[in-house]
């Protein structure tokens, strides 16, 4: 797998450290809403398909990247610096649940 770092260009996946689900938003630091904290710390989106993820180019420029990657094909559709807009916007699939 290659990840195209916006600074360094395409690099081997071995240079990157996975930092997981990029859809999580951290509650306000002073929040005492334990459910919100629990969701942030422990719950993850885990789609079979396009997934917003955070990767760090740990063996390169060390920037954190917001990556949209398909978990079935491993194809990457977008990469940008995570810090530019915070966490990436949701591009996740709709639930298939019946009402």
């Amino acid at each position: 797998m290659l990840i195209t770092c916006p600074y360094c260009g395409p690099r081997d996946v071995s240079e990157f450290a996975y930092q997981g689900d990029g859809n999580r938003s951290r509650p306000d630091p002073s929040s005492t809403d334990l459910a919100a904290w629990n969701a942030y710390v422990y719950d993850r989106l885990n789609p079979a398909g396009a997934h917003n993820e955070i990767w760090q180019h740990a063996g390169g420029c060390r920037a954190h990247l917001a990556v949209v990657r398909d978990t079935l094909s491993h194809e990457i559709s977008s990469v940008r610096f995570a810090r530019e807009k915070g966490a990436p916007a949701h591009g996740r699939r709709k639930s298939g649940a019946k009402p």
Partner: protein
């Protein structure tokens, strides 16, 4: 259906092997069942088996998306052990171990459980203390564990680099002699045959596409082979938990799906009778009865449902193998494959009622699910039948994260790829 035995083997051979019967039927799904188990892997099949055997619930269907056993039960590296640090895990896996010891008889199917020992190596005095802590924890729960000296290890495991000049010299190890390996496919087939003989419908090529709901309650599933209603729906799809729960409208779970690669070498004259694990990285190796070295290492480290690994991990695993066994450089890798692991937030499984009414959940096995197969099915069946956990799976709840009662054997915290 005929019992399997040396006698039946001989009798059938004499009649040209034409009189064997299918190991399990291929029924069409009925409109409704008491229990529908989603997932025809080891855990789903054993759950169905124990529902029938222990609880007399035989109006059960096991739904499998592909061919039976196409998930992790046929993709793992076959180790069976109960060498855990934390008592919740040790008790559960040790119960499983005891079940393994009689599984071939229980199922009348030789699952080739071989208690050849699993050896964890230590490469620093500190690691040896850590192993002693774990071994003593096991001993205090009645589980066998022993420390081995380098000399003992050298005698037992030929080819291991025992030199002090090794980059990570071997200071000793912890062995669980009762641990070992089993033939993974046979476990799935044996449970399938056993469940089938008790009346369970095993339905292959039947993909669940959605859940039927009555309010919050799940009342059935839609599948590629039609709608099936059920009083209780048990989900045992480790590796695909994210996908299936999404069908039920549950987007977020304390689980990530990760790919773990495994490797088998060409067949060699057996020389490695013990399963050996490396202490300075994630590496483990055993040798099958056919002679192939079966080994693996770390997760690829990112979410994936692809059952396909990446090259850097291949290289990593091979270099770790040679760090232990420098002579195996000339041995050749024959096959590699990837399995999708349900990585939970503390490295321990979830076997519980819920999260929706009518639903029961068995997931989060990380890469340790194979050895749990008997106990997992046993406990899950109990949980489904009684609507309450067995004491062995009582700690493995879904709410342990919010309550802070996590069971974190590796102490890595909520970083699933590290467990």
């Amino acid at each position: 259906m005929a019992e399997y035995s040396a006698f039946s083997l001989l009798r059938n051979a004499l009649s040209g092997n034409r009189d064997w019967k299918p190991a399990w039927r291929k029924p069409s799904p009925k409109a409704s069942y008491d229990v529908v188990v989603i997932g025809g892997g080891g855990h789903g099949l054993s759950t169905a088996y124990y529902l029938a055997k222990e609880h007399g619930i035989t109006n059960v269907a096991v739904l499998e998306k592909g061919y039976l056993g196409s998930g992790n039960v046929g993709r793992n590296t076959t180790a069976v052990r109960s060498n855990y640090l934390l008592p919740q895990n040790t008790r559960f896996y040790e119960h499983s171990m005891k079940m393994w010891e009689n599984l071939s008889h229980e199922l009348n199917y030789n699952v080739m459980f071989s208690q050849r020992g699993v050896l964890n190596l230590a490469h620093t005095p500190g690691q040896l203390d850590d192993l002693a802590r774990k071994g003593n924890a096991m001993r205090h729960l009645g589980v066998d564990a022993d420390l081995m000296t380098p000399a003992q290890i050298g005698r037992r495991v030929p080819g291991l680099d025992m030199s002090q000049s090794a980059r990570f010299p071997i200071y000793g190890g912890l062995i669980q002699e009762s641990a070992g390996t089993a033939r993974h496919d046979a476990v799935a087939w044996g449970y399938a045959r056993g469940a089938d003989r008790r009346g369970v419908d095993i339905i292959e090529n039947c993909e669940v596409t959605g859940f039927l709901r009555d309010g919050d309650r799940v009342t059935g599933v839609t599948t590629s082979r039609g709608e099936i209603r059920a009083k209780k729906i048990a989900v045992a799809v480790a590796g695909s938990t994210g996908r299936v729960m999404q069908l039920a409208g549950i987007e977020r779970m304390p689980i990530e799906s990760h790919v773990l690669q495994a490797f088998v070498s060409e067949s060699l004259k057996p020389f490695l009778d013990t399963v050996v694990t490396f202490g300075m990285g994630h590496f483990y190796v055993g040798q099958s009865d056919k002679g192939g070295l079966i080994y693996g290492g770390d997760l690829d480290g990112y979410n994936s449902y692809a059952q396909r690994g990446s090259l850097p991990i291949v290289e990593e695993v091979m270099s770790e193998m040679l760090a232990l066994f420098p002579s195996l450089a000339t041995v050749r890798v024959l096959r590699s494959w990837g399995g999708v692991c349900d990585m939970s937030m503390d490295g321990s499984p979830i076997i519980a009622t819920g999260p929706l009414p009518g639903m029961y959940l068995n997931c989060g096995w990380c890469y340790g699910g194979f050895k749990a197969t008997p106990a997992s099915g046993f406990c899950f069946a109990h949980t489904i039948a009684r609507d309450a956990p067995h004491e062995l799976n009582a700690p493995f709840t879904l709410d342990r994260f919010s309550r802070g009662t996590v069971i974190d054997d590796k102490g890595q915290g909520p970083t699933p790829r590290m467990h």
